[in-house]
């Protein structure tokens, strides 16, 4: 049996090491993506660098940063780029190809070019922005309307975030009744986009007025997650207005761009809602005062209307009563006049009757007077003394009877002669009768 030539593993590894050292004598600037990242307690940092193409890894290598390089390198990178050295980022690093008999090949990183990463990121970011614009995601949230009074809020943040407390305190400062539900998510690191998207998905299933994404403090690094394309799409397609408060003055993140609105600080975020509520309150107060004024004007007008209606009725009644009174007065006048007329007639009648009575009475009286006078005259006239006083005498015969004729007297008869103031007796001498012219009687 032939004795085969061989070397042991160590010799082989040593040969490789030597060859590599010969083949790669210097340092090389290599572009690669950090696939994993693992700082160790001993101060060294171990990582895996990869190159992908079409979503598949086409090259991979172990790498490490020695503890004497790591702190300076890390600080330099983070200060320049504003993000931490972590998995997922593409870096340009200066490496020395090294080979260890025990651990195999590794790339020792002793320098890094942050400007390259920034450029890469900017490029990536720009590509994302262009794609979002092209696919119509940029303005989707802008088309949503925040309610006039946004009160039911979902907030996606980390419970421990200082900004979350600031936000809550400020929001509740004025005593408005907001409903605030917390959806916890990782707000930094490579897991952040997926975590935020999950929270967003959950919150958007409920009926919130707005969903807030609040980074709320912490490291100023690791903001690259807010430029994540998938997160941007999730925000853009959320049916509820999403408001971001990622809080970085230097840049505007893609999450800010696609959101309904973006503010910088937790206080500004709270102010957004406080302002909306205040505006509504002012509006309500204005409306109340307008209503009040209008009502006062209306009631004043109606009061006036009632007064007018009352005075209208009063005037109407007064007018009618006046007219009726006038009519009544007229009637009374007519009645009075009628009565007066009647009375006058009656009076006249009465007077006439009286006159008639009087007249009649007077007539009667005069007649009576006349009658009496006549009677008196007759009586007076028939009084012989009256006749005697006129010179006539009354002759009586023997029997003292008045002689009315001479026939009964004879010569020699004694006769009495009665004067008005006395009497005498005589003896008839002759008698002369008017019927016997020859007869002569002498009265002695």
């Amino acid at each position: 049996m032939d004795q085969r030539q061989y070397i042991d593993l160590l010799q082989l590894q040593a040969l490789i090491k030597e060859s590599i050292a010969d083949a790669f004598p210097g340092r090389y600037w290599v572009k690669a993506e950090i696939a994993s990242w693992s700082p160790r307690a001993n101060g060294h940092c171990y990582l895996n660098l990869v190159q992908s193409r079409g979503g598949k890894s086409v090259a991979e290598s172990r790498a490490m940063i020695w503890k004497w390089h790591y702190p300076q390198l890390k600080t330099f990178f983070e200060e320049t780029t504003g993000q931490s050295l972590q998995a997922g980022i593409t870096v340009l690093v200066r490496v020395q190809v090294a080979f260890s008999e025990l651990y195999g090949m590794a790339l020792y990183i002793d320098d890094i070019d942050p400007a390259f990463t920034l450029g890469q990121q900017a490029l990536e970011r720009q590509r994302n922005i262009e794609r979002l614009q092209k696919e119509g995601y940029m303005d989707m949230q802008k088309e949503l309307a925040l309610p006039d009074l946004p009160r039911n809020l979902a907030i996606i943040t980390s419970r421990a975030a200082a900004g979350y407390q600031d936000f809550r305190n400020h929001l509740n400062e004025e005593g408005y009744a907001f409903t605030l539900d917390l959806y916890e998510a990782l707000m930094q690191g490579e897991q952040a986009p997926a975590s935020i998207m999950e929270a967003l998905e959950e919150a958007s299933r409920k009926n919130y007025d707005a969903i807030l994404i609040l980074r709320g403090g912490g490291s100023e690094l690791d903001l690259a997650c807010f430029d994540d394309f998938q997160l941007a799409v999730a925000i853009a397609t959320c049916p509820v207005p999403v408001i971001t408060a990622i809080g970085h003055d230097k840049d505007v993140h893609i999450a800010d761009m696609v959101a309904h609105r973006a503010v910088k600080t937790p206080t500004a975020l709270a102010d957004l809602f406080l302002d909306a509520v205040r505006a509504q309150e002012t509006k309500a107060i204005d409306l109340a005062s307008r209503i009040l004024n209008a009502c006062h004007r209306l009631t004043a007008r109606e009061e006036l209307r009632i007064v007018e209606a009352e005075s209208h009725v009063r005037r109407a009644v007064a007018g009618r009563i006046g007219a009726l009174e006038q009519a009544l007065q007229k009637s009374i006048g007519r009645i009075s006049r009628g009565l007066l007329g009647k009375y006058a007639d009656t009076a006249r009648l009465r007077d006439t009757a009286a006159h008639r009575v009087q007249f009649a009475a007077q007539a009667r009286v005069s007649a009576e007077v006349s009658r009496v006078a006549l009677k008196e005259a007759l009586i007076t006239a028939s009084d012989p003394r009256k006749i005697l006083s006129l010179g006539y005498v009354l002759v009586t015969g023997k029997d003292n009877k008045v002689l009315k004729t001479v026939d009964k007297v004879g010569v020699g008869d004694r006769i009495g002669v009665r004067f008005s103031d006395g009497s005498l007796t005589a003896k008839v001498d002759e008698v002369y009768s008017d019927h016997q012219d020859n007869d002569k009687t002498n009265i002695a």
């Binding site: 009632i306 209208h312 009725v313 109407a316 009644v317 009618r320």
Partner: protein, 62 residues
């Protein structure tokens, strides 16, 4: 005012009453009834307006 008071109707009735009273053909006996009715309506209108005013005044008290 147990039934729902209709303010506009009451005012319209008052106007009607005034017109009726003004009408010389309306009898005095009827006017008396109209005056009674108008007093009742005016009272109701005032009461109604007062309750409205009270409600209005309570607006800025809350």
């Amino acid at each position: 005012m147990s039934e729902k008071f209709d303010y506009a109707k009451a005012i319209a009735e008052l106007e009607e009453i005034a017109a009726k009273v003004e009408n010389p053909e309306t009898k005095l006996d009827d006017i008396d009834a109209l005056v009674v009715r108008s007093r009742e309506l005016l009272k109701q209108c005032r009461e109604y307006l007062r309750t409205v005013k009270e409600k209005i005044d309570s607006l800025d008290k809350d």
